[in-house]
């Protein structure tokens, strides 16, 4: 039987097991929306296409399934761009469908025409402009395959309107073959053997775990590996949840705002075992002084990550999970007793700390309370970007994978709320918190309407300092407190804003109100904003100034 392009898309999505898509309609995708109307696939109507892309991203990170978003041609498509870039930087599998003008109208500056495959070229894993309806099903199959295998990433499919109307015989290919796309297979056993020996010989080894552990679903293996070898584990921002941060072997986060003991451990180690982590500059600090005495084992599925920033002695190319399984079998257990003692000393000497002062609300305290109240629950934390994000990274001890979702590589203010929408849709039973800043929340606050429409009980905790706090902190430290354009003299009343949207608003100004407010928020079956009025000029410490060595931390 022949189906229209739009019907083929709906069917293909069903074949791919897609239950929900995030989107926003418009002229070029009218035929698609007409078919979605009858489709069993749930459509979540966002309020801005950026929200659709971030929601698909949050959904993917929270569930491990690919996220799907849809936008119309022209402005709809360009509104997706930030969200696509975000997913690209953090290696998140999303598939973006964009409407396009009719094939014959392409290239003539037609109404609402934008060259979205061109615009997104450097920020997609791959993209397609469909020119033949007979290729549509195979294209969608290919897109899902590419987005979800190897190093995950966003794939865009641009759909000329006439393609969605034209008809073709529908047959969904069970698989597609590529001449130019191969996912690395089994890692070379000789390399694993070499790594196993190097680990046995190490005296000051450290595991540096990243987002790849989570996308590989290898947290169990990581734990077994660390416990067997007695090697301490530090994680990146995107690696939060790959290893329980309350574990005695955990060092918490490494890097610019990592713990002092994680930064010391990495800097003085004799062996770094990088697992699904990409030696980002927020992590390494100054490269030429980074971990000067360490040999490096690097497990990564993307060969281009090996040696990109840091010299690697033993590369293990492939999926984390099977490699760790083999390593667990083969590894020689090193003697780390002295090293662990040294680390205990660092932990005692340089703990994460802040001071609670009478009458002021500290953001760290708020995060600690959110952690206390959700630690034993099925909870997902998303964050915005800035100080709020870093306090969340430091004080919210992630225990399980896919529970801490943050925009790392792009650092997109406005990510947290739509990501929370996606996470809550994907995990309806979870308690979801967006840890937000007063600046970031204003970038995508319209998605509160989405949360209200779909009865999503997400909790938005605004750490309100009436500053673009992270930038202000840099101005304080490096620009002589010249607060150029970082202060908000007039903010909306976030309580009233919540109410205007049909959500619940609360304001907290004192420490003792924090706990009751959080309890009330969790018990409220609607979206809630809590406006935490915090100490305005609180800073995030420790901090490695940009471009400095990892050991040159201030404020610890």
């Amino acid at each position: 039987m022949k189906l229209t392009g739009a019907e083929i898309i709906c069917k293909a999505l069903e074949y791919e097991g897609v239950e929900v898509v995030f989107g926003y309609p418009g002229g070029a995708v009218l035929p698609l929306y007409d078919k979605l109307y009858d489709s069993p696939i749930r459509h979540i109507l966002v309020r801005h296409e950026q929200g659709a892309a971030h929601a698909a991203d949050g959904y993917a990170r929270a569930t491990g399934k690919p996220g799907v978003c849809i936008a119309t041609s022209g402005p709809g498509a360009t509104n997706l761009v930030t969200g696509i870039a975000n997913a690209y930087m953090d290696s998140v599998p999303i598939i973006a469908f964009t409407g396009q003008v009719n094939l014959s109208a392409i290239g003539r500056d037609s109404f609402q025409e934008a060259d979205i495959t061109g615009i997104t070229l450097p920020i997609v894993k791959h993209s397609y402009l469909v020119k033949d309806v007979n290729q549509l099903a195979a294209t969608i199959r290919a897109a899902f395959h590419i987005a979800t295998t190897g190093r995950p990433g966003p794939v865009l499919i641009d759909l000329p309107k006439d393609i969605t109307i034209a008809q073709a015989e529908f047959e969904y290919p069970p698989q597609v073959t590529f001449r130019g796309y191969r996912v690395p297979g089994r890692c070379d056993s000789a390399q694993v053997y070499q790594a196993a020996r190097a680990i046995g010989e190490a005296r000051k080894p450290v595991i540096y775990a990243g987002g790849g552990v989570i996308s590989s679903n290898a947290a169990e293996e990581l734990r077994e590996f660390a416990e067997k070898t007695r090697i301490p584990v530090t994680n990146t921002l995107l690696g939060k949840g790959s290893f329980p941060e309350t574990h005695p072997l955990s060092l918490g986060m490494v890097g610019m705002h990592g713990t002092a003991y994680a930064n010391y451990a990495v800097s003085y180690s004799d062996l770094i075992i990088a697992i699904g982590a990409r030696f980002d500059d927020r992590v390494t600090g100054r490269l030429d002084t980074f971990a000067p005495n360490a040999r490096v084992i690097h497990i990564d599925i993307d060969p281009a990550e090996i040696g990109k920033n840091v010299r690697v002695h033993i590369p293990l190319i492939g999926d984390v999970k099977p490699i760790l399984k083999e390593l667990i079998q083969r590894v020689e257990v090193p003697d780390t007793r002295e090293w662990l003692k040294q680390i205990e000393q660092w932990k005692a000497e340089y703990p994460l700390r802040y001071t609670n002062e009478e009458g002021v609300l500290k953001p760290q305290y708020v995060i600690e309370q959110i952690w206390e109240i959700t630690r034993d629950k099925n909870a997902v934390i998303t964050t915005e970007v800035g100080q709020n994000q870093m306090w969340a990274a430091q004080y919210y001890k992630a225990l399980r994978p896919r529970t801490f979702i943050s925009s790392g590589g792009l650092g997109t203010m406005g990510f947290g709320l739509p990501a929370a929408v996606g996470a809550q849709i994907g995990r309806p039973d979870a308690v979801v918190f967006d840890i937000a800043g007063d600046g970031s929340i204003q970038m995508t606050v319209q998605e509160l309407a989405t949360a209200v429409q779909y009865n999503l009980p997400i909790n938005i905790a605004i750490l309100n300092n009436r500053f673009l706090g992270m930038v202000r902190q840099w101005q304080e430290l490096f620009n002589n407190k010249r607060y150029s354009q970082t202060e908000f003299p007039d903010l909306p009343d976030f309580v009233k804003l919540a109410e205007a949207y049909g959500a619940v608003g609360m304001r907290v100004t004192r420490s003792e109100e924090v706990r009751p407010a959080l309890e009330r928020a969790i018990a409220t079956p609607k979206p809630v904003i809590i406006d935490f009025v915090i100490a305005r000029e609180e800073n995030v410490f420790p901090m490695v100034p940009a471009g400095e060595s990892l050991t040159k931390m201030v404020g610890c």
């Binding site: 495959t117 061109g118 070229l121 450097p122 894993k125 791959h126 402009l129 590419i146 590529f178 001449r179 130019g180 796309y181 993307d302 060969p303 281009a304 040696g307 990109k308």
Partner: protein, 163 residues
């Protein structure tokens, strides 16, 4: 150091943009790029000359390999290969000096492909060294226009064993 890469790609619209975009986005220096269909019409071959140290070249090759439309990348720099480039050069050539120019053309086994009132167009094929040399030799006459195809390269066939 300059490296010569032989890159097989899907013969599809947009592939050239992806490759060129990769180079500009990651800050690699393309010195030349030549592209054309192979004997298998669904595959095109690009010859890319790129400048960079070993680390940069390693990244270039790996990043190229990540493009879905790139089928194979070979760095032929260290291999025994034949390379050719074609250049067209329009020189000032008043009748009185044409003889001198024609001598140069002969020496390089180049060809004259157009004679104008005061100009000649010379076609020359060869490896990099030869192209550079003919350009240098013609320069004193005044080069009015010059166009190069970019280098193409092919690894030599396996040689018969000598006994």
């Amino acid at each position: 150091m300059r490296h010569t890469l032989a890159v097989l790609v899907e013969n599809q619209p947009g592939v050239l943009t992806r490759v060129a975009g990769l180079f500009s986005r990651r800050g690699y220096n393309i010195e030349s790029l030549a592209v054309g269909e192979t004997h298998e019409p669904t595959i095109s071959r690009m010859t890319i000359v790129v400048d960079g140290d070993d680390l940069v070249i390693e990244q270039v090759v790996k990043q190229l390999n990540k493009l879905i439309d790139v089928i194979d990348v070979q760095d032929v720099t260290q291999a025994e290969y034949v390379d050719r480039e074609l250049v067209l050069i329009k020189v000032n050539a008043e009748p009185s000096i044409r003889g001198e120019i024609m001598q140069i053309v002969d020496i390089f086994r180049a060809r004259i492909v157009d004679i104008g009132y005061n100009t000649l167009i010379i076609e020359c094929t060869g490896d990099e060294g030869k192209i550079r040399a003919i350009e240098k030799s013609l320069k004193p006459f005044g080069i009015l226009e010059l166009v190069r195809t970019g280098k193409i390269a092919m690894v030599r066939g396996q040689k018969y064993e000598e006994d």
